[in-house]
Symmetry: C2
């Protein structure tokens, strides 16, 4: 039930190993061949927010993105776990406005921004968080757009096709689930089903299949024509507007601001990380056993990017700095390092 996965990330304090993170890693091509793997890549894992780009495919493939004239920033937000900064909130509201709706159409629930600086700024402004601040608000605004287009096609009121869109059997969610099934090649009717943080269903799929989906997103191979076109459009939108997929200082934003279309990477909760690497034609899926995303999964992803993406010397220094990170205490003193483990380095050699 609990795999004995290798230690992928080490936290050193002074001379000693203080903590370490075990996990699994799959790097797969669009034919399903495993280029490298580490740990158990057949155990089902919930992709969480790492698969938002798969869930956003219907937004483009259905024609909704075109019908409502969504911009790069708005499409990037549909794939985002954003920080709830003012520009994210405004962009989410803008998507809904294009569909003729307001924030009350969102069913994702409300949470305050998790980034300390963003949270402080919002608190100081005297405002409260709304559903627009939810890190998933862009994805949900995209779902609402799909429902609005369905309503338009059926000659019905938008609400008839947007209300309750979280439900597994809602027409919008059926499209979203079908996109995840098609890209991963998994029969989701037989997969473990849970409820995600934002209320939609999430399905447990093997890391191997999740990596395959991202290899398909990277290359278009193995996708329907509509999904292949949508995947390319979404990758280009995120590369053009990487701020909107995460936020100030965040890993995904920093990496894609620097490396553009060479990497599409996306964080998920509970230590999941996925990437599409178009030049190599590979997909990457990572899951840390302990669910640590912010420090552990990022280091693994940085080590993968350093190994697999064409980089100049400055870019290599930048990426390696994300795979071997000085740790400082409150007074600013360096007290340790967070780094890719020897086992991870060996797996990528």
């Amino acid at each position: 039930m609990t795999p004995h996965n290798p230690d992928l990330v080490h936290l050193l304090r002074g001379p000693a190993l203080e903590s370490f993170h075990r996990g699994a890693l799959a790097i797969v091509d669009a034919g399903g061949a495993v280029w490298r793997s580490s740990g158990d890549i057949d155990r089902p894992v919930f992709p969480r927010s790492a698969n938002k780009v798969l869930q956003a495919l219907p937004l483009v493939a259905s024609g909704a993105a075109e019908a409502f004239g969504l911009s790069d920033a708005e499409l990037a937000l549909a794939c985002a776990s954003h920080s709830g900064e003012p520009a994210h909130v405004a962009t989410a509201a803008g998507v809904l406005a294009k569909a003729g709706l307001g924030a009350q159409a969102l069913e994702c629930g409300t949470h305050w921004p998790r980034d300390e600086a963003v949270l402080k700024a919002l608190a100081r402004s005297g405002h409260e968080a709304s559903a627009l601040h939810n890190n998933c608000s862009g994805k949900h605004a995209g779902f609402v757009c799909v429902g609005c287009l369905m309503a338009r096609a059926a000659g019905r009121e938008p609400g008839e096709f947007t209300r309750g869109y979280l439900r597994p059997d809602h027409p919008v969610m059926r499209e979203v689930t079908a996109a995840v099934a098609a890209t991963t090649g998994c029969d989701l009717a037989r997969a473990p089903m849970g409820t995600d943080g934002c209320g939609i269903p999430t399905f447990g799929v093997p890391l191997r299949a999740l990596a395959l989906a991202f290899a398909r997103v990277a290359s278009g191979q193995g996708l329907s024509a509509g999904h292949a076109r949508a995947a390319l459009r979404l990758r280009q939108a995120v590369a053009a507007s990487p701020f909107h997929v995460a936020g100030t200082g965040r890993f995904d934003t920093r990496v894609m601001q620097r490396l553009g279309e060479r990497v599409f990477c996306k964080v998920g909760a509970e230590g999941v990380y996925c990437a599409a690497l178009p030049e190599a034609g590979l997909g990457v899926a990572i899951k840390l056993d302990d669910g640590n995303t912010a420090r552990a999964a990022e280091v693994v992803m940085a080590a993968v990017i350093a190994r697999l993406v064409r980089l100049d010397d400055a870019e290599r220094g930048f990426v390696q700095g994300l795979a071997d990170v000085p740790q400082r205490n409150w007074a600013g003193t360096e007290v340790g390092r967070l780094q890719a483990s020897p086992a991870l380095q060996a797996a990528l050699a």
Copy 2:
């Protein structure tokens, strides 16, 4: 280098195991006999803030607490990783004032409160965080009091014995380190040394030795008369003022508000947790491999308390609710459970 410790805590989402936490656990009596253990209890771990009560022993044993007339709340704060709530900040300032000093005597650095509600309240107030908000400010105020008493005894200015108190070779820090060495029975000159988040040295000691120190704190056995008296005084102070050792809604505060002197438990960074259980005469030390304190180590500690502390039915329900915790998403829907694993339950049987 990386032990294969058992999975102690499981996070379930819907029907599936989403994430899990491995770690080690030592439960030891004051003679050093291991009552129960799980995983590698001989690997050195940095106790981090979990050993603050050991580091506070000189504050009482030196006579400084008495000389400056410290209250229960002030002594509890000296053992605390507090939330930086207004009452914590005021109490830390009060300790320094009794020693005739101000916040500038603290060398722990500044950080904003980590609790979302506390952080929001501070941001809305328009104020900035200071060193008094640092979760370690009470411990450091205690160090400063020890230095002030040393200065008084030597007929010198306080600053001569307080400035630079973080340094391993400072007279105050030598007393603090000696207390950790005496209670754990470890030769710290041969232990791995790192720098803690608050700037003071931290020494890697086996979980077995850390649990022994807490068994000694629980019973007084194996301690010098001064340390035994100090340990009792500090346990009583925390039991009388559990808000000051952590804060609103925090595990340590809630547990000790409910169970009083039957438990002294203390959280540390990087998945470390310690407890003294006076009625059983046992000490407990926990380290999660992945450093996850907030969710994983708390569940382990709750399971230990449920097994080892005399509880009535209502108290048992309260503690078991901390060892099997419903997980809700942003909309408030229960999406999973965080719970003691079968391996942990078997280890405690």
